[in-house]
């Protein structure tokens, strides 16, 4: 999949991954790759500025821990982030259903509400 397409929705994807629980940057990247079946290919470093933007918007928060002698930054959703994630899911469901109807493709797996 084109990296531009992925980047356009990267913030929502990150919120979705963090919706499952706190993760560090590499954990988020690995989860994105795993969930997309390897479809989402983009330079891994581009995830961090998106994390920074989400933190600036107070949709996520972070804290530093020490793991195996290394400093590690862990990210988690805030209340506002959880709300934004639900809105994103709802908006995406509506859009995907409409797009599927226009394109004549049966929608699948759109159970976000």
């Amino acid at each position: 999949m084109r990296s531009d397409t992925v980047r356009g929705h990267l913030e929502g994807f990150i919120l979705a991954v963090l919706g499952e629980g706190p993760r560090h940057g590499y954990g988020i990247v690995a989860e994105l790759r795993s969930r997309s079946g390897g479809e989402f290919e983009l330079p891994e470093g581009t995830v961090y500025p998106a994390l920074q933007r989400l933190a600036n918007a107070r949709l996520i928060e972070s804290s530093w821990t020490r793991v195996q002698g290394r400093d590690r930054r862990m990210y988690r959703l805030t209340g506002a982030g959880r709300e934004a994630l639900e809105q994103e899911r709802a908006a995406w469901s509506r859009f995907a259903a409409a797009a599927a109807a226009v394109l004549g493709v049966p929608p699948a797996g759109l159970a976000y509400g």
């Binding site: 560090h24 940057g25 590499y26 470093g45 961090y48 949709l59």
Partner: protein, 344 residues
């Protein structure tokens, strides 16, 4: 890996030292985790795994502008907010000190009303900043973070406005001419409401744009990212380039968006109405002698306030965000970092 981190560190030199150290620590952790995973899944060749981790992370020229841009946008939001709020607070306090009873009411201490003025102006500035941000993003691929920032600005402005109105309502009890105070309070409420409604309406448009089919099928020219790149370019600019950007920003002041025009008209009308009810307390006694003079003085005050807000928001934002050195032949707009000499 160490060479790569050194290169990234050099590209990140525009960031404050502490923030840069944190970014580098995060990248280092990422690369080591990635190298561990790659080495586990392959032959265990650590050197190859580290090289592969670096390759997957992306070239510094590819990933660093995003960091710089995220930092720059955060910084300019703070600057715009502080500039708008502090300048307006100073103006309001100066007016309060000069004008007497209209601003201080019958209270022996002006503190509550000065606090009310500061709060109302802070709210005014917050909403104006939010409107300016939405306007700058109007043709961009707006992300969730942008929308959240705009909403926070609008909500913060409304909260400050409500607090200001509450203080003024308390002060009404001690004012010799409650009609005048009531008119001023209503005017403030009206201006805040119109501004919040305008910002909300544009924010809704931004959300709709995000949901549009065009965004998914073929992402538009990523305006936000283009602007971020421009910020990165401008941060590396020479003083002359910044001056050119500033002059262009002054030109932008002449092209005001319609919500600002509507707000200006409403603010002028409201200020005029408020002033007409408080004639003897006009700023200039000669002007206060006639209704037309009172209306003109009030309109002038309101226009000055609006001009200050716009200058503080629409001026500060473009100065930092315009691609000033893009015409500099040494700079490649697509790659602002590579155009600079390397560390050696």
């Amino acid at each position: 890996m160490r060479t790569y981190l050194s290169e990234v560190a050099w590209h990140l030199r525009v960031l404050p030292r502490q923030r840069r150290a944190r970014v580098l620590a995060e990248i280092s952790d990422h690369l080591r985790c990635a190298a561990d995973d790659i080495a586990d899944g392959q032959t265990g060749d650590r050197h190859w795994a580290e090289a592969e981790a670096v390759r997957r992370f992306g070239a510094p020229q590819q990933v660093v502008p995003g960091w710089v841009a995220a930092y720059s946008l955060d910084l300019l939001r703070r600057i715009a907010w502080l500039a708008g709020a502090s300048v307006l607070a100073v103006v309001r306090i100066a007016l309060a000190a000069r004008a007497g009873p209209l601003f201080t009411g019958g209270l022996s201490s002006p503190v509550p009303l000065v606090a009310a003025f500061i709060l109302s102006q802070a709210g005014y500035a917050a909403v104006a900043v939010a409107v300016a941000q939405v306007w700058l993003l109007r043709r961009s691929a707006v992300g969730l973070a942008d929308i959240a920032v705009v909403r926070r600005g609008v909500l913060g402005g409304a909260a400050a406005g409500m607090a200001a109105l509450g203080l003024r309502a308390v002060a009404l009890l001690a004012v010799p001419r409650p009609g005048a105070m009531l008119a001023g309070t209503a005017a403030c409420a009206g201006v805040l409401a119109v501004m919040a409604a305008g910002a909300h309406r544009i924010a809704r448009r931004a959300v709709l744009a995000l949901e549009s089919a065009a965004d998914l099928a073929e992402p538009p020219v990523p305006g936000v990212r283009a602007r971020m790149l421009a910020v990165a370019v401008t941060l590396d600019a020479s003083p002359a380039a910044r001056l050119r950007a500033a002059s262009r920003a002054l030109g932008m002041l002449a092209r005001l968006p319609w919500p600002v025009i509507v707000m200006a008209v409403v603010a002028l009308a409201a200020a005029g109405a408020a002033s007409a009810g408080a004639a003897p307390d006009g700023l200039l006694p000669a002007l206060a002698a006639t209704p037309a003079g009172r209306l003109a003085s009030a309109a002038g005050c309101a226009a000055a306030e609006i001009a200050v807000v716009l200058a503080a928001t629409r001026f500060v934002l473009p100065v930092l965000a315009l691609p000033g050195p893009a015409r500099d032949p040494r700079a490649d707009p697509a790659d602002p970092v590579r155009s600079k000499p390397g560390p050696g």
